[in-house]
Structure formats: C-alpha cells, structure tokens
C-alpha cells in the first residue's frame, strides 16, 4: 500500500526544514544531547537541559564530566551499563530514569533516552539523546503512596477501635437483656423503665459504632470503577426500604436515572443515605413525597437530585449538615448520629464530585449531587 501523501510530505519537511525539528524539541523535549564517541570528552548539551537544574548554560563547556557530576551516582552506573549494552547491540534500549541534583538541592527526575549512530562497520561513533523531565509525575506517585499508607493505617486504627469499643457494648447489651428477661418481673415499674432506656441507649451505640466503621472503611478505599446503573440501584434500595417507608407514610417518585462509571457499593450507600435522610425529616401530617431524579449534562456530568417536602434546613446550617458527628436535632426527636450526610459527602469527594443543598425551613430540602460521568 502506498504511503499517505501527507506522511511523505512530512518526512520531507522534517529533513529539509530546520524549524520543524526545533518545534519538536521545544514542544516535547526538556533537553537534547549529542555525543562524539570518538572524542568522548565532547558532548553537546542543549541549554534547556542545564536550565532544568537552575544552571546557567553559559557556564558549561559541553564536557560529559559536567552532567556526570550532578547526576545520582547509582543512576549513573545503570546508565553506563545500558550505554555499553546499547553500543554492543542496537536492540538493547538506552532508556532510564535518572535523578539530578538541582542547584537548590532538590531532586529532578529525568527520563533519558538515546540511540547510537554507527559507521559502516557498525561501530557506534555518535550518540543522540533526548531528555524528559518527570519530577511532577514522580512526586504525585510518591505522595499517592504516602497517602495510601496513611489511609490504610487510619482504616486499621478505626477498625481496631470500633471493634474494641463494640465488645463491651455488646456485653452490656446482653447483660441488660438478661436482667430484663430473668429479673424483669421482680423490678418495679420504674426499674423496668430504666432498664428499657438503658437498652435503647446501648442499641443506639451499637448502631453508631457500626456506622462509624462503615464511614472509616471507605476512607481511601481502593475503588474499582465499573459501569453503574443508578436506576437499578435505586429500585433495589426502594424495595429494601419499602416497609420502612410505608410505615412512615413516605412516597417516592423515582424518575429515570442515568448510568455512570463509579464505585458500585459507594453509589448504593450514597443513594440509600440520601433517601433515608429525606424520609427521616418528613413532617407529620404533611405531604411526604420524595422525588429522586437525574440527568446527564452536555459536559458529561451526572446530576442527581433528591427533593423532599420535610422540615427543611436553615441557610445557616447548610454547611454544618455535611460535617461528621454534627446533628441539628436531639436523638429523641429524630434518630441519627451525624454520619449519614458526612458519608455522602465523602463518597462524592471520592468520585471527584460535589454535593450541595437548597432548602426552605418548613417546605422541604433538595440535595444535589454532581458527579463526573466517568473516572479518569
């Protein structure tokens, strides 16, 4: 098959028009070098290379000893081995990551690639090479690893603490149960009432510890992003909550929801928390309709809205409700522990999205979740 005419034309441009090469050099390379292997003390380095390390190119004399002086000595050894192997066999790539010392003492990571130019006998007589600086990429990589380690330590800590807290709570719960079961009839009415209150408190604490554990378990969780149908997730959740919602006289209007790429379990938690939250704050005797709707915007974002006709939230509390352990109501009024919406916000953050609320006191609230349709 004939070569495309533009490819032929481009090759011609590249070999005849010097501006083409300098464009490639400036647009994609951070340094260029050209080494005379027959006179090994001669190696031309581009000025951009020296500027990477805060060094004035004018102070340099194109002697390889100059860069070998500021390169990490372990990395230099690897580079020299690769150099020998590449000269002996063109199939062995001269390509490695090396660290340089910046004039301010910091480390600069550079990917260095080169290829030998050979004479008729196949002997390497020149070496042409290019540099790409990748310090930012390396740093992100390292910060990511540190963050992963910190998160996993936090998860283990939370797991251990919740576990150690839960054991005695369980024991006290069982003791109270036994007291009620075995001695209940010997207790006065006042005594029975006190035991019942104690059991309720213990149950709340058990639920609280479980939810705390769930909250911490998603901190920096290694998330696997898969295609998720919010529609079928919502349908499943509504089936599970059916009894609870029926008892509270809550009606859910489920409108078509989009698909997105996300962590499935976290999406399930998000929807389920937003729905139970909306149901919890419904008003006795008022309309108890929750509307769950969604759309995909032109710029590939998924917008999800959960609107209720409940008690509403004052503007001054809009930020507070997403803060962990913060509650606006005493637990006798409305059950809860201040984790639900904090969990929602963390899930949304894990997905690079945001969650906001609009509300009128006494008229209802609307939570809006904005998520990228796919994760990169």
């Amino acid at each position: 098959m004939a070569e495309h005419y533009l490819k032929t034309e481009l090759d011609h441009q590249m070999s005849t028009n010097p501006e083409m090469w300098s464009f490639v050099q400036q647009a994609s390379l951070d340094g260029v070098w050209y080494w005379d292997l027959e006179r090994p003390d001669q190696e031309w380095m581009s000025p951009e290379f020296w500027r990477l390390f805060g060094i004035d190119p004018a102070t340099k004399s194109h002697n390889p000893a100059e860069w070998q002086d500021i390169v990490n000595q372990d990395d230099l050894k690897i580079a020299l081995v690769n150099f020998e192997l590449h000269c002996a066999d063109p199939a062995h790539p001269y390509d490695q990551l090396v660290r340089y010392r910046h004039s301010d003492g910091s480390t600069i990571w550079v990917r260095c690639r080169g290829r030998a130019i050979r004479n008729e006998e196949g002997k390497a007589i020149r070496m042409f090479g290019v540099h790409n600086e990748i310090t930012a990429v390396r740093r992100r990589h390292e910060t990511g690893r540190e963050l992963d380690a910190a998160n996993s330590e936090l998860r283990d800590f939370a797991y251990a603490v919740s576990h150690d807290l839960k054991s005695p709570v369980n024991t006290v719960g069982m003791l109270l149960g036994e007291l009620q079961e075995a001695e209940g009839e010997h207790l006065s009415q006042d005594g029975q009432h006190l035991v019942a209150l104690a059991r309720e408190s213990i149950e709340r604490m058990q639920i609280f510890i479980e939810e705390l554990l769930r909250y911490t378990s998603i901190i920096g969780e290694v998330v696997e992003f898969v295609p998720v149908s919010l529609q079928s997730l919502a349908e499943g959740i509504l089936q599970e909550l059916d009894e609870q919602f029926r008892a509270a006289n809550v009606v859910v209007d489920l409108q078509p929801l989009p698909q997105l790429i996300a962590h499935k379990e976290q999406m399930r938690l998000l929807l389920s928390n937003l729905l139970t939250n909306a149901a919890k704050f419904s008003r006795a005797g008022a309309g108890n309709r929750i509307t769950l709707s969604g759309e995909t915007t032109e710029d590939n974002r998924v917008i999800l809205k959960v609107a209720d006709q409940g008690v509403g939230i004052g503007r001054e509390d809009f930020e507070k409700i997403f803060t962990i352990f913060t509650r606006l109501h005493r637990s006798e009024q409305i059950a809860g522990n201040g984790l639900g919406l904090a969990l929602c916000r963390r899930i949304v953050m894990n997905h690079g999205g945001r969650i906001t609320v609009e509300s009128d006191l006494g008229a209802g609230s609307c939570f809006t979740v904005e998520l990228p349709q796919s994760q990169t």
């Binding site: 839960k166 369980n170 003791l175 149960g177 554990l213």
Partner: protein
C-alpha cells in the same frame, strides 16, 4: 484442660442441638451465652472454652462425643479464631464438628470474610450479641442435614 460443661436436657429427650461448643475468651459473655442457651430449650449439653487452644485439645480426644456445632469468637489472645480454624482443619479434617458458626463483634469486614470463606466447615456468621434466633437457625441447619443424611441411607437401602 479447663472448660465448663453444663447439661440442660437429657440425651434421651433428643434435644435439637445435642452437643454445643462455645469458644470465647470473655467470661461474662460466656456466662450470658449459657443463660440464653439454657433458656432456649434447644441445647442438650454445652461445653464452654475460654481459649482456642483448650478447645483444640478437647477436639483431639479420640473418645469424645460428636460435636453438633461450635460457636467461635474471632478476636482472642494467643490463638485467634482463624488460627483455630486453620489448626483444627489441618489436624482433624472437616469433620471435627457438624457445623461451625463464626461470631462477629462488628459486621463482617471484607478481609475477614475472605479468610473465613476458605474454611468449608464455616456454615454461618452471626453478629453478636447471641440471641435465641441464632440457636434456632443452628437447630434448623442440623435438622436439615440430618434429614438429608437419612435420605441418602434410605436410597442405599
């Protein structure tokens, strides 16, 4: 070897769970388990161990009675529940008990689930605290597997 042994229902009355073992290092919890087990009216005899090593030593005995079910705590000092499962399975195979129920303090951690699922003898999980319902489920399971075994022997006959 120290353990507590309590008989609640005579063997002749064929209790739903003839022989139950409970392994948990918490003395108070063990005391409450005993009361709940007694009250359930489902258990003939219970053997209570405060450590996994002692439970393992008991299972090693050749002349011991068949164990119908073991309730096993996971977090114990020295030998934990998983180590107990590994040691018992390796030494005694899968038949050291008819069923084993793992007792969890908090809801199942995915890492624990993965570890526990490696042991085929683990038939159930229960979230503490132990309640009557859990014992009924164990009785159900034993009843079903007994019925299944009966079918097999009949088919052979």
């Amino acid at each position: 070897m120290t353990y507590e042994k309590h008989r609640f229902i005579p063997e002749d009355d064929s209790p739903a769970i003839r022989n139950l073992m409970v392994v948990d290092d918490n003395k108070v919890d063990q005391m409450i388990y005993r009361r709940i087990i007694k009250r359930s009216g489902l258990v003939g005899q219970v053997l209570q161990f405060l450590s996994a090593e002692e439970a393992l030593a008991h299972l090693r005995q050749k002349d011991r009675a068949v164990v119908d079910a073991i309730l096993l705590d996971i977090n114990m000092p020295r030998m934990d529940g998983f180590e107990f499962l590994a040691a018992a399975t390796e030494e005694l195979g899968d038949s050291f008990t008819r069923m084993l129920v793992v007792m969890l303090t908090t809801s199942l951690d995915p890492r624990d689930a993965a570890r526990a699922s490696q042991f085929s003898v683990v038939k159930q999980y229960l979230n503490k605290p132990l309640v009557q319902k859990h014992l009924e489920q164990i009785a159900d399971y034993l009843n079903r597997t007994t019925a299944a075994r009966g079918d097999v022997s009949m088919a052979r006959g």
